[in-house]
């Protein structure tokens, strides 16, 4: 039977995190990846002490439960995640809190609905710079993901896309923005 004694209650911490990935990740895949990374890093005994459980995940932000005294170890487990079902991803911890409510309110933005479904389809815009050319896959703020024409460019890093920013696009001439289609420099002008 479960213990009813308050002193014996296991204390918990909730880790709010954000997944940075090349494509959208499914919650189930993320859960399995966390479990497998944990098992690989700490083994069964360590896993039993960490007591990691994925509480929620909406495609970008998520919440993870772990033991009160094993927050740093859980952080290390999240840091060892390299790819999720073959999609390159990285997990960024936003913050740690004692309750689900506090973690959600403090660290998970309410308007995370604006996450566009990231698809591998390009939207028909192209960048051609000296040494780098390709189709724009998605752009977010100043950051741009580019599918390069030469596929072996990303070989060393295992990623699918090249990452640029709009700062890279302005070439030697002030008028030139480096693109063939008029993707202008500035926060507001790059629309996915």
């Amino acid at each position: 039977m479960r213990s009813r004694l308050p002193v014996l209650r296991m204390r918990r911490r909730y880790i709010a995190f954000e997944v940075d990935s090349e494509e959208t990740v499914k919650p189930k895949d993320l859960g399995l990846e966390i479990i497998s990374c944990q098992a690989s890093l700490f083994g069964d005994k360590g896993a039993s002490m960490n007591r990691i459980k994925l509480i929620s995940f909406d495609g970008r932000f998520g919440l993870l439960r772990c033991s009160y005294s094993r927050v740093e170890e859980s952080r290390a487990v999240l840091a060892t995640i390299y790819s999720i079902t073959g999609i390159r991803a990285a997990i960024r911890v936003k913050g740690v809190s004692g309750t689900i409510k506090a973690a959600t309110e403090k660290y998970i933005p309410k308007l995370s609905l604006s996450i566009a479904e990231t698809s591998a389809e390009n939207d028909g815009r192209r960048i051609e710079l000296d040494g780098v050319s390709g189709w724009i896959i998605h752009s977010h703020g100043r950051e741009i993901d580019l599918s390069p024409d030469e596929k072996n460019r990303t070989k060393g890093s295992d990623t699918r896309y090249l990452g640029l920013t709009s700062f890279d696009l302005c070439g030697g001439c002030d008028d030139a923005d480096g693109t063939a289609d008029g993707l202008r420099q500035g926060d507001n002008c790059i629309q996915p």
Binding site: R75, S157, F167
Partner: protein, 227 residues
């Protein structure tokens, strides 16, 4: 905080431009980054664009790859004048030793790559020449199973040697893409798994900033500064 990530590889070696790396590193909470491409990739993609990224210091360095100690020495000598941060890609016993014996070298990265422990003589020389040992935590993230445990074992032995000879050290993820970057706290959590003490990781993350500061001054000789 002054945490620096010291061994990033950007375009054309990695997959992200220096400005993208800087943007992501700033978001993760770094004060600065040093982009150190390997020999052969020194022509950085749009190095001027990083000036537009505010709130983070970006320095360009080099990680020297050489087959023989002799070619390493000549490459270090030519790189010293051009870059504020000169590191050596370790691995074989001769390279590790030659890098440690060269006072022009700032950091020797991943001496454990060839699964060989740093020698006593090399550690002593590193102490004399103020060469720091760079621990690249990439295998801890990338590898799984037996290969990772073997890597952890070698790192543990190197760490004991570093403590014994009181060498400076630095930790990095050796990122080739912004998805490889880890926030300082995550890096510290990883390093503690690998056997680092908490104060050592703190010191290791601050070390590159100190090197950059020392290298920005003008030195007439060892211990003599031109003011």
């Amino acid at each position: 905080m002054s945490y620096f990530e010291s061994c990033l590889h950007s375009l054309p070696e990695g997959s992200d431009s220096p400005s993208k790396m800087a943007t992501v590193a700033r978001r993760l909470g770094y004060e600065g980054i040093i982009i150190c491409n390997h020999t052969g990739f020194e022509k950085f993609f749009r190095p001027d664009a990083v000036r537009e990224v505010k709130g983070i210091k970006v320095a360009f360095g080099i990680e020297i790859v050489a087959n023989s100690p002799r070619s390493m020495r000549s490459r270090v000598a030519s790189a010293r004048a051009r870059f504020p941060f000169v590191s050596v890609h370790g691995g074989s016993e001769e390279t590790n030793k030659a890098a440690c014996e060269n006072p022009e070298v700032d950091v020797l990265f991943h001496p454990e790559e060839g699964r060989k422990v740093l020698g006593i003589a090399a550690a002593r020389a590193a102490r004399m020449n103020q060469v720091a040992i760079g621990f690249d935590l990439r295998p801890l993230i990338r590898l799984r199973g037996n290969s990772r445990s073997r890597w952890l074992e070698v790192v543990q032995r190197n760490l004991n040697l570093v403590r014994k000879f009181d060498l400076s050290m630095t930790i990095t993820t050796g990122s080739r893409s912004c998805l490889d970057l880890r926030a300082p706290r995550e890096l510290r959590a990883l390093a503690e798994i690998a056997g680092f003490e908490s104060h050592e990781t703190e010191e290791a993350l601050r070390y590159p900033a100190r090197v950059l500061e020392l290298n920005s001054r003008r030195w007439a000789g060892p211990g003599v500064e031109i003011l």
